[in-house]
Amino acid sequence: MNCKEFRKSLPLYLDGEINPNKKKKLDIHLDSCAECSLFYQKISGSLFQLHSKKDIDEQAFYYTRLKQRMLNKVQQESFIHSALFKKSLQLSTYFASIVIAVFIGILIGSGSDKLQYSDINYDSKDYLKSYMEYQYLNDFELENKENILLTDTIE
């Protein structure tokens, strides 16, 4: 038997499921080959660890540490709750500000139901009064009227 054959048959050898004839051959090879013997020793060493019970002794202050951890957890949870509350309060404030800003914007944009510049009757005696009531200053509209006035002057 060579080393390659030995390693191939080793799992069955370790499982104890090898026939006696082959086991004898493996044993002979194990005695004669130093490299395979070392390899087998390593594997046996690891398998031995499986049967060696490893116990951790009782830990001093285990309960004290556990209580501290429980306390920290409660504090952490309350902190998370308060942080979440703060965050949600902050978000709702932002949202409310945006809604108010949009509402004000719409109000400004839509103007007023009161008299518009274009609605002013220039023949009326209350022209100035009407102009005073003018609520919304439309630059384009104003510019148009100014142009008309300028044209009138040239004529």
Partner: protein, 189 residues
């Protein structure tokens, strides 16, 4: 004090009863976690989480199973959850390493050389834990409970909620696989 009385008192949030319970079972829980996780610090963390869970959910203990069986079950489940979450973390860490410039970073090894233990023994343990971690979860748990905790097949079946014959199959198959994995470890190292 009897376990039943202790549990009833803990359910009423009796601190003294909880302290007695922890002192009685800390060693069991810590060892189960350590045998599955093979890391003392992680085992300490997970074992404490186990007791916190017990304290918070003690009213769910119906008393059908033995307290020990219940403790083993919670310890095993918590340790497995911890291992799963660490696997996920490792996956993301590997992604980070893959996309970062630092390609030479080495994966940290859990087991450190402790004073009094020789290098050979440490290498043997390393190979064993490498193989145990490569095993399917159920086979790993069955072998760990049987070999490290000295539990009988019927006790393992109660903890894992499977039949005794299934435990036998798991341990048998697991050991065969374990032999191959240890062999593979030494062939590659």
């Amino acid at each position: 004090m009897d376990d039943k009385i202790l549990i009833d008192k803990i359910a009423q949030k009796d601190e003294k009863a909880f302290q007695l319970f922890v002192e009685k079972y800390q060693s069991l829980v810590l060892n189960v976690c350590n045998n599955i996780l093979n890391n003392y610090d992680d085992a300490m963390d997970v074992s404490q989480e186990v007791f916190i869970k017990i304290y918070n959910t003690i009213d769910q203990f119906r008393g059908d199973a033995k307290v020990k069986t219940w403790l083993y079950r919670i310890s095993v489940n918590n340790s497995l959850n911890y291992l799963r979450s660490r696997k996920k973390q490792k996956w993301f860490t590997n992604l980070d390493v893959l996309f970062s410039d630092d390609k030479d970073s080495i994966e940290p090894v859990d087991s450190e050389l402790k004073p009094g233990e020789n290098i050979e023994q440490e290498e043997n343990k390393k190979a064993l834990y490498y193989a145990l971690r490569k095993l399917p979860e159920k086979q790993n748990i069955a072998i760990s409970l049987h070999n490290f905790e000295d539990l009988a097949y019927n006790e393992i079946s109660e903890i894992m909620n499977i039949t005794v014959s299934e435990v036998g199959v798991l341990i048998n198959r697991g050991k065969k696989k374990l032999h191959k994995l240890i062999l593979k470890y030494y062939e590659n190292n």
